[in-house]
Symmetry: C3
Subunit: 451 residues, 3 copies
């Protein structure tokens, strides 16, 4: 009896153990599969933000420059994709030193996993990591497009974008997300208030300063001539698409689902900042301008979203509400201030992405609560953490600003001296659509455009 019992037990135990092991392996595979679905679908939402940017920027421009804006936004993602595949990814995530990646530089190393230890914390397959990071790189380039609209030469914009995504963006990305010196120091930027938005913003600022304002915007007598966007339906559509896509941008930056708590938290901090910024921007605009301005509502939402991007996983929902409230006021004041400084930004990109990218990054140093969704950020100033985190955040903002602004200024200046960056005055007056593309956005209505 004992013998068959032992044998039976042995077989039972062995098969049961095998069963358990197989089951554990299946569970592990499923976990990777779920994370992959999450990373790809949220990456896709970020990809869709291209549509949002195109609609917002086209709608805020005049009808005669619409084709040009749309073409810029459409092709810039193609160039960004190419640049990031060929070199950007390797510079950003390749193993290297504190400044940049050095190994596996080209063509994303053919899709091989090894050599990217800074992003090995996510278990998804290589091409999923690559796609997710690629769409972020594309966003940085798109931000520039709006600020330089209605006067930039098409070809110069393309060359600048290529350089931005091939070299500038990935190097900053390496500093903060690729294991570089700011990450080692303890600066935190969850989804890219600095890495994406302020990088785009600083690059845009350099361009705007060299380009100068649109003809007729600032008059000799000191007055400002408002130039209205030609289609506020497109602006609103684009704003809502951007907001929609931001739910990929922020929650997707977990690059994994875990037990679901972090991504749910990030959904709500993201939304809360956006809606509080809409409300504060509306009230600010109502007080200052006398009436609630639709473009301020939309830019308010975007400002809140940019501001919460760095801290969405590090702050509580009420803190997100406060960050949003401030962002909405900031964006309105900032739009007015840039105009007073005669820095002409047709879509408010500097106020949205640069000012609030900086603010959002610093806000982490104020509002962070250690471990609120897992990350060991330490506490911010308002939660008893003292000045350490805050100073790291400020240092990060300053160093990234100095680096990106300087490099961008040099690149714009070289383009300025060689192929030129600004279209001719004649072309600006007839519109870049006819000038750069030989076509019009709305030909059936063409004879009836004002001005």
């Amino acid at each position: 009896m004992k013998r068959w019992f032992w044998v039976a037990t042995g077989i039972f135990v062995a098969s049961s153990a095998l069963f358990a092991q197989e089951s554990a392996e299946m569970t592990k595979t499923l976990s990777v599969a779920l994370d992959t679905v999450w990373v790809l679908l949220t990456g896709l939402l970020v990809f869709f933000m291209n549509t949002g940017f195109a609609m917002v920027e086209a709608g805020l421009a005049r009808a005669k420059n619409t084709v040009n804006i749309l073409a810029k936004n459409f092709i810039v993602f193609a160039l960004a994709s190419l640049a990031y595949w060929v070199i950007g990814w390797g510079l950003m995530f390749g193993d290297g030193n504190g400044f940049m990646g050095l190994t596996n530089l080209f063509f994303a190393n053919g899709g091989v996993d090894e050599g990217y230890s800074a992003i090995s914390w996510t278990q998804v397959p290589f091409w999923a990591k690559f796609f997710f990071q690629l769409v972020f790189a594309g966003t940085a380039a798109t931000i520039v497009s709006g600020a330089v609209a209605e006067r930039i030469k098409f070809l110069s914009f393309l060359v600048f974008s290529l350089i931005l995504v091939a070299f500038v963006y990935p190097i900053v990305g390496h500093w903060i997300w690729g294991g570089g010196w700011l990450q080692q120091l303890g600066m935190w930027d969850f989804a890219g208030s600095t890495v994406v938005h302020s990088v785009g913003g600083w690059a845009a600022l350099a361009g705007v300063l060299l380009l100068g304002p649109r003809t007729g915007k600032y008059r000799a007598d000191g007055s400002i001539q408002p130039i209205m966007g030609h289609n506020l339906s497109l602006v609103t559509l684009g704003g809502l698409i951007l907001w929609f896509g931001w739910f990929g941008f922020n929650p997707g930056s977990t690059m994994g689902v875990g037990d679901g708590k972090a991504i749910a938290h990030i959904f709500v901090t993201t939304n809360t900042a956006a809606i509080m910024a809409i409300l504060s921007a509306t009230i600010t605009s109502w007080i200052i301008q006398g009436k609630p301005d639709l473009t301020m509502l939309v830019n308010g939402a975007l400002a809140g979203l940019v501001a919460i991007t760095a801290g969405c996983a590090f702050v509580s929902v009420p803190s997100a509400a406060i960050i949003g409230l401030v962002a909405g006021v900031l964006v309105v004041l900032s739009v007015i201030t840039f105009d007073k400084l005669r820095i002409d930004d047709p879509v408010g990109a500097l106020s949205v992405h640069l000012v609030n990218g900086v603010f959002g990054t610093i806000a982490v140093g104020l509002f962070a609560e250690n471990g609120i969704t897992g990350a060991e950020t330490g506490n911010g100033l308002f939660f008893g953490g003292g000045m350490t985190l805050l100073l790291h955040q400020i240092l990060g903002v300053l160093m990234v600003g100095a680096f990106v602004f300087t490099v961008a200024l040099v690149v714009w200046a070289i383009l300025h001296k060689t192929v030129g960056i600004r279209v001719s005055r004649e072309e600006e007056l007839i519109g870049l659509d006819l000038g750069e593309h030989g076509q019009e956005a709305y030909p059936d209505f063409q004879g009836f455009l004002t001005k």
Copy 2:
């Protein structure tokens, strides 16, 4: 020999059991994670319906009122989010009595799980539940916007929306989804034909009756002056986005994936009702109006979607087809009838959301098949269930209608007597865009608007 065998067996068994337990825990975590991804992404699709509503409503208005509609739809979700966070969620899902939630009322109780037993059946984290319910609350408020368009004061609309989402919507939601008296009675509304759509519809009806029709719509001689929407491309875009988002609205209301059968079933019932309603609305419009009217196609789709919302998980695919067929006819007849009654609804919101919200809720009492995707609804009249379910559905419709219509009428009346709800006749003629916002949607085309 026996001794080492026992020891080895013991270790093997213990480790195997541990292995199995860990594996089971991992599986459980994964199951929660998958459900969380599902709830957040379908909630996001519902969020995107804001874009659809904005485009449909703007497109069906005149160009001179476009900015105002867009601004209303943009800010109403911000107000709804705030109201639902501060108080609405607690009234709806907080443990309480049959009428309303009473515990954990404010600020969604800071994200703590306990105290919401009516929604503890879904295993997703608190903030995922909150986000999903929040976007539904936002939808109810948006429905009102279209019906009162082109004449409502911006500020009055904002105040009304705040009250609707803070108090009215959550109390009805508590009755049917939050463990309240209608749920206890056995009334079924899977995704909100009543909770969301008819609540929005009744609130809108009260507003429309107090506001009166747009100037010039109904003439003294009894004739009706059609007022055409200014942009049918936007209308179609919005209609398709709403349809897209509805695949979050209905299947997402499972708030979990289970074995996948229910969500797949709901995808197909939802789509089938929509397409049959398009076909029947087209044919009805073709017969009555002589030509197929695009706005009827779009409203047909929406009508089918509203009508299947209550029953998408409770009826078969062929039943969904019949429900859709009826909805498509209903919406066309209803639009014509409201016009004859001189109830001026610029976008057909009453015909889509109120009439078909009521019809869809009652249809559950006719077509339900017990347990078709799991829920124990009992059978509807046409499937041998007798009158019980049908009467519960009708009672629910009547009680919700009486409550919402009455409260909304009082709120609108108070607003009417205090700040006023209607813009001046002069402002209505020049358009609410200039009047309320000091800007135009299409300034490059401004000199050439007809009328």
Copy 3:
């Protein structure tokens, strides 16, 4: 001692085994659930492509034909859904012979799983399979809409679409995806360069040839009168939505997530082909036309996407880049060539879907690498596989072309002889919006349309 040890061990082992088995069953359920979420959400992205097609086609038409295009695109999905439910699904996936399905023909067999062995390889529930295949069927019909735009009779288009989706598309689908003779032979078309895009393309070509060009397009003196699209903002919006939706079309065709590697691979091949095609189309257009044409950028993206559809799971990322590069050149040359041949295709649907559908299918025979994401395609010509695969691909292209073109020609001819397929010359001049629908897309701007 021994006895209680045996008993305890026995219980322990048994419970542990039970535990492991339960855990394995839960894991299996979860795996089905995750695949279902994947198939439904990617199917939903394909559904959203309806919006993209509607916006691209409307934008590329004149303002006076906008309502008609929108109505066609809106209702065609309804008809396709109905036709596919009633008969198409059964013909495509029902067990049958090499030519068509024969069992379970009608009403998708009421949702029962059995009888569809060709699609039993995916573990998702029946209605998930059905929904995913349904949205693909809808896409094929929508492709026709653009090519025949601005002159087709509304009713004739509806009848043709119904026949296409009820019979023609499912039979070809059966050949390649439903276990039919081309699949048995070893022809590979992963996501439908042939099954969807070239089927739509051949059907459109037959219609265009019978319809003739739009009035005024080709002059008696041999010159070509360009007819510009009325709204390039809509075109760009639509192009981006289509690109977005394609990430459902291609990766979703796995109909399961597996370990995530395949879907990540397909995301990147899909995107890479699109962006390379944008760049090559832009450069080709810049060289030939002197300036970069926005419509060529958008059609370039679509061409790259169509071309990679057949091979996205079978080729490497660098091969995808080459396929995209070729597609971008092909689409520009093809648009010009069709115009020279006086084959009038208002939106470039033939160049995008037919030419690149054919090219993409053949490219599999050149670039396939056996097992790159799992499928045993064998290698293409450029990877040492010789001519076998290439010849199968070419044979498939030819047989599908011959079948679809012939049947479509017969159907269009019958319609031509009975109800007529072309609107009257007068209706064409005033526009199909007034003629077919009695309404205008932009009534507030109506007095100011050019021509």
